[in-house]
Amino acid sequence: MIEALHLTKTFRDKKRGDIRAADDISFRVSPGQIYGLLGANGAGKTPTLRLLATLLNPTGGSATVSGFDVAREPEKVRTQVGFLAASTALYGRLTAREMIAYFGKLNGLADAEIRARTQRIADELAMHDFLDRRCDTFSTGMKQKTSIARTLIHDPAVMIFDEPTLGLDVMTARAIVKFVRECRNRGKTVIYSTHVMSEVEKLCDTIGIIHGGKLMAEGTLAGLRTIYGEQDMEEIFVKIVGAEDAK
């Protein structure tokens, strides 16, 4: 379960003054649900997700992840979260097995448990061919699989995906989308940020449209279609964001 209440993050910039990267954002994601955070580049998706993953500290509002407060209990929050982003890379000089084991240990798992879980995840993701190869020799698909394995090793209740398909080829992107769906099917709480409309349409149970750090609209795909009188997600998005820009 994720609950954000008036979550705000302000950065101070010498040239531009105060920048509100996340501005009074409130939403809730339940287990077994995928919440899509849809926004253009620079809309505030990454800061919002980084706040939930406790990589950043909020300057206002609050949020809880699996009942733990992101500001007061960041380490407990991170035990509950699997965070996958285009910016979370792998250690090139470690093998996939070492990479997974390292994050297993950092999550407090015992060696035997790490071995068993690695075996199970490698079976599921068909990783055995490259499990003992160094990550700097991997193709993009292998890297994504290893990253997924890294996020799953501690079996988190909450999965946060920040534009995970960015720059990936169609086949690898499809595999990621399939994996996100599987997470929902396993009862995990999933939050998924993207600027790709089709991914939101295919995946998300609830969609939040973010622009200028603010959550502009929220609802199911069917609900948004009804409210804005458009079938196409792109048209809905332009209506919401365009209206805000026109102000």
Partner: protein, 413 residues
């Protein structure tokens, strides 16, 4: 603080670094090779150049001397020099290294010697040019011998003993034990090398583990783990410290082996094992083989430890601020000059340790190491230096932790 997590981060960083050629180069290979290269490489080249210059018979010109055929003939007969025909541009010939030196014989030089006069012979050479100074040296030697011979002949003519011109003799003898000689000789150099290698050993791992991770995108991955940031920074710090200490350890081991091999070669190929302490006993009096006091070396290692901590924390803090390895390098490279300066000042003769200098970081280390390697132990200064170094190191480490908790630093792009 969770030591299990710190150890996990440290062991991962160690494994990662051992697979990185650039880290291995800066922490193991260069420190191991620096002393043998300096001793045998540069030393061999230098001795080769000097040997070649010495083996050459210097060409000299005689200016004047038409009325002193005897001296000119003896100069021409000398096998140590080669007399070439005099030219009008003799100064230019020396400058252009066509001849090495020239000697000006005064008018009626020979006649003056017989008459008991005291004429002045002038030797011309090119200051700072090695072969020219060898040529001038040979000429000086020739005329010194001629002067002694003339003195002896003049005394004999007057039936006076030769000891009249040399009433007594004197010589120098060393009383300093070998380790003091070694301490004085190497006391300045060893801390200088230690300081440089400690810093270079810390530099590359620090850049790789912070700015390098930011650049490669693994920093965010690591921060997603539930480990506290203080544990991450301490794990990384321990790795940087390992790099710094290993650079020093490899350098000192290599220096020890080099000294043993060099000592053995100096003794004419004797057993290497005997070349250490036993060497001093077997060497004739007056030609002491310099040794380094082993206790002094232990003291140096103890004093260097907080400085290595300081370097590791400082390099980590500065690198952490940088967005990329390249930027980190541009911050750390100038710092190297700042670090070398006190080390160089410490090498200068005449600068002695006092209470005020004991508080100046790095210079205090350089000076106290020089003393300890010579067997001098000023315990009050040692305590001040160790204590102040620990304080500086703790402040630097605290800064590193503070820096790691700053979002604008960690996510600086």
């Amino acid at each position: 603080m969770n030591w299990t997590n710190i150890l996990t981060v440290y062991l991962k960083e160690l494994k990662d670094s051992l697979r990185d050629r650039r880290t291995l180069l800066s922490t193991i290979i260069i420190p191991t090779l620096v002393m043998p290269l300096l001793t045998f490489g540069v030393g061999k080249v230098a001795s080769g150049v000097i040997g070649k210059a010495r083996s050459e018979t210097p060409t000299v010109m005689i200016l004047g001397g038409e009325d002193s055929p005897g001296v000119v003939a003896r100069l021409k007969e000398s096998k140590k020099i080669k007399v070439v025909p005099t030219s009008l541009d003799w100064k230019e010939d020396i400058t252009e290294k066509k001849v090495r030196a020239a000697v000006q014989l005064p008018e009626k030089f020979e006649a003056g010697l017989t008459a008991g006069a005291s004429p002045t012979v002038v030797i011309y050479h090119y200051e700072g040019e090695m072969k020219s100074s060898f040529g001038a040296g040979e000429l000086e030697k020739f005329f010194r011998e001629l002067r002694e011979k003339t003195t002896t002949e003049r005394l004999a003519e007057r039936s006076l003993p030769a000891t009249l011109a040399k009433p007594f003799d004197f010589k120098r003898e060393n009383v300093a034990p070998p380790e003091k000689v070694g301490g004085n000789l190497f006391g300045g150099l060893v801390p200088y090398l230690i300081i440089i290698l400690c810093f270079t050993g810390a530099m590359y791992p620090a850049m790789d583990l912070t700015a390098g991770e930011k650049e490669r995108g693994t920093m965010e991955t690591l921060l997603c783990s539930p480990v506290a940031r203080v544990d991450i920074v301490l794990g990384k710090f321990l790795m940087v410290l390992t790099g710094s200490l290993s650079a020093m350890g490899f350098m000192l081991s290599s220096m020890g082996v080099t000294a043993l091999v060099a000592g053995s070669l100096l003794m004419g190929g004797g057993s290497m094992a005997k070349a250490g302490a036993a060497a001093a006993a077997s060497v004739p009096a007056g030609s002491v083989i310099p040794l380094i006091d082993p206790l002094g070396l232990v003291g140096v290692l103890a004093m260097v430890f907080p400085v290595a901590v300081l370097f590791a924390a400082l390099a980590l803090t500065i690198s952490l601020f940088a967005k990329s390895s390249k930027e980190a390098q541009s911050y750390l490279a100038p710092l190297m000059i700042v670090i070398i300066m006190p080390a160089v000042i410490g090498m200068l003769p005449g600068i002695d340790l006092n209470a005020r200098l004991a508080l100046v970081p790095l210079l205090n280390l350089s000076l106290v190491c020089k003393e300890m390697l010579s067997g001098v132990w000023h315990w009050n200064y040692i305590a001040i230096i160790f204590g102040s170094s620990c304080v500086y190191a703790a402040v630097a480490l605290w800064l590193a932790v503070k820096m790691f908790n700053r979002e604008d630093v960690i996510f600086r792009a």
